[in-house]
């Protein structure tokens, strides 16, 4: 795996299964790596290879799913489909070097903090020796970067939370956390897009749906977007419920 000039210093490509390969990026800051993941995603959006099914970005990696049967059709049988995919992905990486990424969009998400919507706000405040208002302010003061979407439809993995409001997960996970709940787990914050069991500290809730069943734009947030939370009242929350159509 050392035959590519691009290898070693910045990325490695290895098989995950006989139908998937992962590009793993190394040796750079998480933000720089994120730009590489986004760039490769964009190249694959614009020019997917024959036999490619889809790709899934991770924090520092990108996994491509493919159909070996499609790739093998009319191809030299001496080389494995993984080797074919590896060469294709190396080409895509080169294509990406000349690509400029579109400007990230900023999405503002209204949150009603505390009370019945954020039952753990006090716990997070107490844990960090802060007031509830301090937690709200620190949580809504920052601009977060969407590193990736995963876990559930439209669920964003956000970077940039103020570490003064970090708090461990609940000792006993809740059996049901309502969709829209805004939570903190360790040094991360996120929004539950579905009603699911979960162990995050819930500090608030948003009425803004994170996904819709439209093929063009199923997730409110995309990798690379910026997010800001802003506090609203319970009344505004109740009147603000609705579907997201476009952003």
């Amino acid at each position: 795996m050392n035959d590519s000039p691009l290898q070693g210093n910045s990325f490695q490509i290895f098989p995950v299964s006989e139908t998937a390969a992962m590009v793993q990026f190394y040796n750079e800051s998480r933000e720089q790596t994120h730009v590489k993941v986004r760039t490769l995603s964009l190249v694959l959006d614009q020019s997917p290879f024959v036999g490619m099914i889809e790709y899934v970005p991770g924090f520092t990696s990108l996994t491509v799913y493919y159909d070996p049967f499609m790739l093998r059709k009319n191809k030299d049988k001496d080389i494995s489909t993984f080797e074919m995919v590896k060469e294709l992905l190396e080409d895509k990486m080169k294509q990406g070097e000349t690509l400029s990424l579109p400007v990230n969009k900023l999405v503002r998400i209204p949150v009603v903090y505390g009370g019945e919507y954020g039952p753990d706000l006090k716990e997070v405040a107490d844990y960090n020796h802060l007031t509830e208002n301090d937690v709200i302010q620190k949580h809504s003061d920052v601009t977060y970067l969407v590193y990736m979407i995963g876990f559930a439809p439209g669920f964003p993995y956000l970077g940039g939370m103020d570490q003064d409001i970090a708090a461990p997960r609940k000792q006993t996970p809740r059996t049901s956390v309502p969709a829209g709940s805004v939570g903190i787990a360790g040094s991360q914050t996120g929004v539950y897009s579905l009603t699911t069991p979960g162990g995050w500290q819930i500090i608030g809730r948003t009425s803004k749906p994170l996904f819709q069943l439209k093929e063009e734009n199923p997730s409110l947030l995309q990798m690379g977007d910026y997010v800001q939370f802003y506090p609203i009242s319970a009344e505004e929350y109740e009147s603000g419920k609705g579907d997201f159509v476009d952003v």
């Binding site: 139908t19 924090f59 990108l62 996994t63 049967f69 993984f82 995963g150 439809p153 069943l213």
Partner: protein, 331 residues
């Protein structure tokens, strides 16, 4: 059209899955034993991707409301009409007014029922598959219930509809059948072939030895999302955090308690647990047909073997398809 009189244990509408939206966090779903669904579809003349019923452990009672052709594949959950067993892996003509019932689970644990034309439910993000947790797709995003009506897509007359004796009381079928592309026999311990997982070399030697030498029992808390296994506890040498990245069908991940989980159709798109192994594609169906309480044994294969097995399985399915079409043309 079918009417549901009893839903069975868990009966959902599934096709081959909702691909293309994993990057937006939408799980793939789809038939947990995709090969059985593909063959059920082929036998009734559908596209392999068409949606059918995935029937788990205990089948639903369905009344047939119009003459139609069905095929049942996968595990043998003892399908019958008027106490006469329905043959599996064959197209079957079922007349209006018949009642499809199921006895017990003889082999495997999931059966697939395809109907000529396919089940008529709206496609959501390109697929008819049911995503239970999100309440998306399939029949109103859920398993079928008593009182539901399942509609069939409009389709030109099936060649078999014209030849079968429609006055026959229960059902009629053909003299040939497709052979299952994998072994359904109820062995004591089923062998599941694996490739090394992304974090394979980070596990202790004792854990790796135990992983291949001992067998694992499928826990009762196993479902379409994943199979939880009980056996020797597996330990990763390094304890550093794994950043979330894509996980896939058949990934064997090991949470902190050391009990491995095989990820299946309703797996999350991404995860952060260490991954010891990867079940090869052709053996996903073996896992999917293993009942809770039964044993699995892992066997290592090479990347080359896994790929050849994948390609051979596609060729097998294609040959079942061409011989089925040949038979139907002769009708």
């Amino acid at each position: 059209m079918f009417k549901v009189w009893k839903p069975g244990f868990l009966t959902t509408i599934q096709d081959l899955g909702r691909t293309g939206f994993q990057k937006d966090g939408f799980i793939v779903s789809g038939a947990i034993d995709p090969f059985s669904l593909r063959i059920a579809n082929i036998l009734v003349g559908n596209s392999e991707q068409e949606a059918g019923l995935e029937i788990t452990l205990q089948g639903p009672t369905l009344s047939v409301e119009e003459d139609t052709v069905i095929a049942i594949t996968g595990g043998d959950l003892t399908p019958m009409i008027q106490n006469n067993p329905l043959p599996m892996w064959r197209p079957i003509f079922v007349p209006k007014g018949s009642l499809i019932e199921w006895g017990g689970c003889k082999t495997g644990c999931r059966a697939y029922l395809s109907v000529a034309g396919g089940l008529s439910v709206p496609k959501v993000l390109g697929s008819k598959s049911t995503y239970l947790r999100a309440g998306i797709g399939g029949f109103e995003g859920r398993g079928i219930k008593k009182g539901d009506t399942l509609f069939i897509e409009e389709k030109p007359e099936h060649p078999l509809l014209s030849v079968f004796d429609k006055d026959y009381a229960d059902f009629s079928t053909v003299s040939w059948q497709a052979s299952p592309p994998y072994d359904f026999a109820n062995k004591k311990t089923k062998t599941v072939r694996v490739l090394p997982g992304v974090h394979y070399s980070q596990f202790t030697n004792e854990s790796l030895d135990a992983f291949f030498q001992e067998s694992f029992q499928v826990h009762t808390q196993s479902d379409r999302m994943g199979y939880r296994l009980h056996g020797p506890l597996l330990e990763r040498r390094q304890k550093d955090e794994i950043l979330s990245e894509a996980v896939t069908l058949g990934t064997v991940q090991v949470p902190a308690d050391g009990n491995p989980v095989i990820l299946l159709a309703d797996r999350q798109t991404t995860g952060g647990y260490p991954r010891i192994a990867q079940v090869i594609s052709v053996d996903i169906s073996v896992v999917a047909q293993t009942k809770p309480g039964e044993q699995l044994h892992f066997k290592a294969v090479t990347w080359g073997e896994a790929e050849s097995l994948y390609v051979d399985r596609q060729i097998d399915v294609h040959s079942i398809k061409s011989s089925t079409y040949e038979k139907l043309r002769q009708v």
